[in-house]
Amino acid sequence: MDQSKAPPQESRRAFLKGLSASATLAAAVAVRPAAAATRTVQYGMLIDTRRCIGCHACSVACKAEFDVPLGNTRSWVEYVEKGEYPNVSRNFLPRLCNHCSEPNCVDVCPTGATFKRAEDGIVVVDPERCIGCKYCVQACPYDARFINPVTGAADKCDFCLHRVSRGIAPACVETCIGRARIFGDLNDPNSEIAKKIATNPVSVLRPGMGTEPNVYYIAADHSDEQERRRGSYVRVTTHRKEKERR
């Protein structure tokens, strides 16, 4: 699944907001979201892409944990290949729900089925209240959501709430061959994740969307859109049914 020939995507919303970089995935040194400070716990994930080897152990761990139906993904890994021979790079970008502090999906949900947990900031879907209207699927700027064909309800990564609440790390974190994924409480300054974020340049995906993601990256490669517009070779492979990437 690649989109090497896909035309550059202009992000209309980003444009309307007057952001200079209309890159789909723009880099930014992240600032701790103010909203989270009022919460006791805000779970988040930090993915150190320097350690990521694109092995998909996380993708399959997540698939198995929830028996996610074919065609849908809670967790996936994108390959970004760029450059001119012989100076070629391939970087890996693991993806999942960002458990945003200002989640678009929550804003648009007409029934309150999608909400952000007060206890820990995990964005969840209550399948009992979900009517399958797909508003959230459209609203999420990260393509993190899908309608689960088995339940008919919206679905996505829930930070493995059923594990975390029982004292076990998320499935993708447990298995990560590169030990690239760190999960923890962003609001606890002594947590490993908070310390790593404090001491490393980090970024989030599409910061211009105002979603305030809680998934952070170290050394994520965000330059593919600019490179593409410069006419350089860029090939993004999403490894999912959705070839296009948001």
């Binding site: 716990v41 198995a64 975390v164 076990i168 447990e174 298995t175 061959i177």
Partner: protein
């Protein structure tokens, strides 16, 4: 919507994850694994420690069972090898058990062979039929006409099936698949340091130099090695340089990717050796190690004589010479050689990218030389001798018959001079030829003779021919391309439904003992083939002393020192893994000075020609006199009696031979090769077919990806969903010369056939190369691999939609079965192809 209702009842109400409220455990206290819960009900899933078999790494894992059904496979936190981590492939193993196309019963063909018409039969009928065939051959005194061909068979399965059952039966017509795997690398290592396997000590290294290994995606010890390599690169900022024709993910994570012309890694390695010697960079650790190396014909050469021989041999292998051959700039070679030699401890690693060539044997020997010259042999941080579990197991009761053999597993006469791991990819050609005899019964186990070898069309033609092979038996859990050509199919258990003890090498030089146990019972009438062997042997009147593999494994646990004291079988069933907590990592195994008692033992004699002390009684020599007159090197199985190597005034443990009668030196000068008319010292030989290539020709290379295991995992839907199509990679320079653009349909033609596929134009491959991965293009193997259901019956999966339709193309149709003339390795990476737009 019943499913949805059920889910809602179970899910939100029973609160697998109570969506509101609930006490939170501090993230700092989260356990990294060893438990799993149902996301629907919240109930704990039952954890069963067992062992993966998706690839040959055989990592300890935990199977998690929910309501009697295997739901998930996770890492084993107690494993010193994986440290609890687990790759994608291992986790896709769940799909092996639930494959809706899997074989559930024995089947017998009814139409013509290969016509796809099958009749379900009972095990009784199957065993009656098989016993009739096998029993008759044995009674007629022709057990060798039963050929058993396995692909992967390891540890207790190998011992029970090969060393007990087949030995008790009396056939030695046993094929493996090592020559299509890594046999060439193994032979080259046996010739230099005795044993076949190398471990790379990433935990202590300061520099990694890689020739053609993609160990971050696929390796014979994948997870255990990959996580350590990432740790070294990320935590200790170890520098890594990768030589490869293709930007693998391993190359992508290296500090430097150096594209190299296909099959020329040996030239680069020799040039690096030349730089090390010319600049005197061997001084220090390399010089100390020189004492254990053989560089000349004489066993007791001085350091000076060795260095002079080395200098003379390497003189012409300059970086400028290597640049012309490999396309790698001389300056790059020089810089990397100097960096490598100045970064002790440093490790040079290699695999099929470098070795599966016409000249692979000496490429591997040149790489061994580079490691030796810098003292990076069996040292912390270097290239180490393998350490694995040493299990004891029950032997065949009573006397084994003298086994007989058809000479069809080592290729045609003269095809390869030292095929120490056989030439399995020539077996079908040998059968067709017939001059060395043909088996009456050809049985294959955990093997895909049709798909996994080159020359696919010819494989099909031969296997289909009932005149060439009267009776074919396939033992497999899945209906694949080879099963389609069987007369009888025995439904084997998947690895998640069977017993084993396991012994794969430890990357930390401390042995790990571990077992495999059934996570769920086998479905339908599926049976582990080793259990079937116990029955067959009884029917034929030579009972094996155990009734099942479970009994074999249980007894092994009670026989094996360490495991037994830890609690034996019961302990292993509940813990899965064991290692000696007091064990120290093993290094410098060669440097032990032997005590005089060891040399005074009964039968031990000195061989002046090699400087080896050896026990002639363990060889095939009939008397001490015969042994002395023939000498160590020329006595059959002399190596089995190896005791130690005289070096100067002392006798050292040295580099113990494992397959050939080499001395205890690290043999860079190989008398064995010399006597076979091959170069004694590592030498570069150009690949003949690559010398006069035309404009529209490219060299085909194959590779593996992170989410698949060679031919075996495409039936795993979670893996095939990620990786199912494999367009051919071509560099933009080559593409424009050929007039093809990204996505174009192309024909790839070789002397073996034509492959139709699509092209992916990418700078991630060297010009002159076409790279096609080896996982795709199945035409059987069930719906996820081929889009086609099994002809032996299948189940519906309600609501499931397989969204991909392109299953890719299989390169083996156009790769001929050829052999490295030294060691017999299949030359996977050598085929010259013509590419054109369709």
């Amino acid at each position: 919507m019943t499913q949805r209702r059920d889910f809602l009842k179970l899910g939100a109400a029973a609160a697998g994850a109570s969506l509101t409220g609930g006490t939170l455990v501090s993230a700092a206290e989260l356990k990294q694994g060893g438990e799993d819960f149902s996301p629907l009900s919240g109930a704990e899933r039952t954890a069963v420690p067992t062992t993966c078999w998706q690839c040959v790494s055989r990592c300890p894992v935990i199977g998690y069972v929910e309501g009697g059904r295997l739901a998930k496979i996770g890492g084993q936190p107690a494993s010193i090898r994986t440290e609890g981590l687990l790759c994608a492939k291992a986790q896709g193993g769940v799909n092996q058990v639930h494959d809706p196309d899997r074989l559930l019963y024995p089947f017998k063909r009814v139409g013509k062979r290969g016509s796809g018409q099958w009749k379900r039969i009972s095990w009784d009928e199957a065993l009656d039929e098989l016993t009739a065939h096998l029993g008759k051959l044995r009674e007629d005194g022709h057990p060798e006409k039963f050929m058993f061909h396995y692909g992967r068979m390891k540890a207790s399965s190998s011992k029970l099936i090969k060393s007990v059952f087949l030995a008790g039966y009396g056939t030695k017509t046993i094929g493996n698949h090592t020559s299509i795997c890594e046999g060439g690398k193994w032979t080259a290592q046996e010739l230099t340091w005795g044993s076949h396997y190398d471990n790379w000590d990433f935990d202590h290294t300061r520099y990694v130099l890689n020739f053609g290994s993609n160990c971050l995606e696929a390796h014979t010890n994948h997870t255990s090695v990959a996580h350590r390599l990432v740790r070294a690169l990320a935590d200790r900022r170890v520098k890594m340089v990768t030589f490869d024709v293709r930007l693998s993910n391993t190359a992508a994570k290296s500090d430097q990717w150096v594209p190299v012309r296909s099959g020329t890694d040996g030239a680069v390695a020799l040039a690096m050796c030349q730089v090390v010697v010319e600049k005197g960079l061997y001084r220090g650790k390399g010089e100390e190690f020189l004492k254990f190396c053989k560089f000349t014909a004489a066993p007791q050469a001085s350091q000076k004589e060795k260095l002079d021989a080395l200098k003379a041999h390497l003189a012409s292998y300059t970086p400028e010479w290597a640049e012309k051959i490999s396309g790698v700039p001389a300056e790059t070679i020089r810089t990397i050689a100097v960096e490598f030699a100045s970064s002790y401890p440093a490790v040079v690693i290699s695999y099929r990218g470098a070795v599966a060539h016409y000249n692979g044997n000496d490429t591997e020997r040149a790489i061994q030389m580079l490691a030796a010259l810098t003292g990076n042999i069996d040292n912390p941080g270097g290239r180490c001798k393998a350490v694995g579990a040493k299990w004891k197991y029950p032997k065949f009761p009573g006397n084994k018959p003298k086994a007989k053999k058809l000479k069809i597993v080592d290729g045609f006469p003269g095809q390869a001079k030292l095929p120490t791991h056989h030439i399995s990819h020539q077996v079908l050609k040998m059968i067709k030829d017939g001059s060395a005899g043909r088996p009456d019964v050809y049985m294959w186990y955990c093997y895909q003779p049709v798909y996994s070898n080159g020359d696919v069309a010819e494989n099909i033609e031969i296997l289909k021919d009932e005149k060439l092979i009267p009776y074919t038996v396939c033992v497999t859990p899945f209906y694949d391309e080879s099963a389609a050509l069987a007369d009888l199919i025995l439904p084997d258990a998947t690895y998640l439904e069977r017993w084993d003890w396991e012994d794969m090498v430890s990357p930390n030089q401390v042995a790990e003992y571990y077992i495999r146990q059934p996570v769920t019972p086998p479905p339908g009438e599926v049976r582990d083939f080793a259990d079937v062997c116990c029955d067959l042997a009884k029917r034929m009147g030579f009972p094996l002393g155990v009734d099942s593999k479970e009994e074999f494994v249980a007894k092994s646990c009670e026989l094996t020192h360490g495991v037994k004291e830890a609690g034996g079988f019961a302990y292993m069933k509940s813990h899965g893994v064991w290692h000696d907590p007091a064990a120290k990592p093993k290094y410098h195994s060669f440097g032990k000075v032997l005590k005089p008692e060891a040399l005074a033992a009964n039968g031990v004699i000195f061989d002046p020609a090699t400087g080896v002390y050896w026990n002639w009684r363990k060889s095939k020599a009939k008397s001490a006199d015969e042994a002395k007159s023939k000498g160590y090197a020329h006595t059959k199985n002399g190596y089995k009696g190896y005791v130690g190597q005289q070096i100067g005034d002392a006798v050292y443990s040295g580099f113990k031979p494992d397959k050939v009668n080499k001395s205890g030196y690290f043999e860079l000068y190989s008398t064995i090769m010399e006597e076979k008319g091959l170069p004694a010292l590592p030498t570069y030989v150009a690949i003949p077919e690559h010398q006069a290539m035309k404009d529209n020709e490219l060299v085909l290379t194959t590779y593996k990806v992170a989410a698949q295991v060679h031919s075996r995992t495409q039936n795993c839907k979670w893996l095939s969903e990620i990786y199912h199509r494999n367009p051919a990679w071509v560099n933009p320079q080559s593409a424009s010369r050929l007039g093809v653009s990204d996505g174009d349909p192309i024909s790839v033609k070789s002397p073996a056939g034509v492959l139709e596929t699509r092209v992916q134009v990418t700078p991630a491959v060297a010009p002159g190369t076409i790279a096609i991965s080896m996982h795709c293009g199945h035409w059987e193997y069930g719906r996820y691999a081929s889009g086609k259901r099994a002809e032996t019956g299948s189940q519906d999966v309600p609501g499931e939609v397989i969204w991909w339709t392109d299953n890719g193309a299989h390169p083996n149709w156009i790769i001929p079965n050829r052999a490295d003339p030294t060691n017999g390795q299949q030359r996977w990476m050598d085929t010259v192809v013509q590419v054109s737009k369709r």
